[in-house]
């Protein structure tokens, strides 16, 4: 699968390969240390963030904390909750 930045494809491929191996061979076997792919992830991230800026993709909404549910429908008892302290901002201006 391609990256959003044409020049990031090679880095993405390398990172995905590293991640897939770490995920099935280590993480799913109980090892949570994820430092093995950290260097390639960092380089790949720099490339993707640059591509996103170039394509004017709204970063504000992407930089919030992880969220696993649309906050405005909380009364529907959605499974999962927003982890960490920073509440997600779902209602950013479109």
């Amino acid at each position: 699968m391609n990256s959003i930045g044409d020049d990031c494809n090679e880095l993405k491929k390398q990172y995905d390969a590293c991640f897939n191996n770490w995920f099935s061979e280590r993480f799913l076997k109980g090892q949570t240390n994820d430092s093995v792919c950290a260097p390639i992830f960092k380089v790949y991230q720099e490339c993707v963030k640059r591509a996103m800026r170039e394509q004017k993709i709204e970063l504000r909404e992407i930089e919030t904390d992880y969220s696993t549910g649309p906050t405005e429908y909380d009364n529907n008892n959605i499974g999962g909750s927003s982890p960490g302290a920073g509440a997600s901002k779902q209602q950013g201006k479109s």
Binding site: M1, N2, S3, I4, C8, K12, Y15, D16, F19, N20, F23, S24, F27, L28, G30, T32, N33, D34, F41, Y44, Q45, V48, K49, M52, I57, E58, E61, I62, Y66, S67, T68, G69, P70, E72, Y73, N76, I78, G79, G80, P83, G84, Q90, Q91, S94
Partner: protein, 231 residues
């Protein structure tokens, strides 16, 4: 902000173990049903308290027909996917939503993958669809997104293809099936026009209303499809 949303819930059983499903998940693109997905990037990822948190950015083609040009430019749609994977409890929750164009339509989808007693994997998917465009919002509320719901069966075919390819020897039973699709709309009171009316004036009025209504309904479901990432 329109908070009334149509919700739709489907359950799919994958004939693979939870570990196989979550491993294949990161590799599900491309697949034969995903030609609409153009790019896929991990933009954030970390382990917290033994759980894996990921944020991915997907872009999808925007097969904008002429009518759509007045709402937005013909650029690929961006979708953000957050996920939390708990390897101890064996749960994997994904939450996807469209970036931008939320006034036209917001499609939030949550899928929870968990291990069944028989070793297979259950995916419970919920979609919340809302719009601030009156015609769309009305169409969504009254009918839910029918096509969106109907396509539930097709939804897992792309993912199943990836699972079969990655783990050919590990299928646990026959093909995956979608069970118990159900839909709850906030308001199902709006009925379609029936043909029993006697007054020709109200007849034509109703016909006009129906045409406008069908227009919104069909376009609402097209946009909802566009903002959804199920394959």
């Amino acid at each position: 902000m329109v908070l009334t949303a149509s919700t739709c819930r489907t359950e799919t059983v994958f004939d693979y173990s939870w570990k196989h499903v979550v491993s294949a998940y990161w590799n599900r693109y491309p697949n034969p049903s995903s030609s609409h997905v153009l790019t896929e990037d991990t933009i954030r990822r970390e382990v917290r308290d033994g759980k894996l948190y990921s944020r991915r950015l997907l872009s999808k083609t925007n097969p904008v027909p002429k009518w759509g040009a007045r709402f937005y430019n013909n650029v690929p749609v961006k979708i953000v996917e957050d996920s939390v994977l708990d390897p101890v409890k064996k749960t994997f929750t994904t939450f996807t939503r469209n970036l931008g164009m939320k006034k036209i339509m917001k499609v939030d989808e949550i899928v929870v993958y968990s291990e069944q007693r028989d070793g297979r994997t259950l995916a419970v998917r919920r979609a919340f669809i809302s719009s601030q465009v009156f015609g769309f919002s009305r169409a969504i509320r009254a009918f839910g997104i029918e096509r969106f719901k109907l396509n539930g069966n097709k939804a897992s075919s792309g993912f199943n293809y990836v699972l079969r390819r990655m783990f050919p020897q590990h299928q646990l039973q026959a093909a995956a099936s979608t069970v118990n699709p159900q839909q709850n709309t906030a308001d199902v009171a709006l009925a379609t026009t029936t043909n029993h009316s006697s007054s020709s004036k109200s007849e034509s009025l109703k016909r006009t209303a129906k045409v406008g209504y069908e227009f919104c309904k069909s376009h609402a479901s097209k946009i909802a499809q566009l903002f959804s990432v199920r394959n």
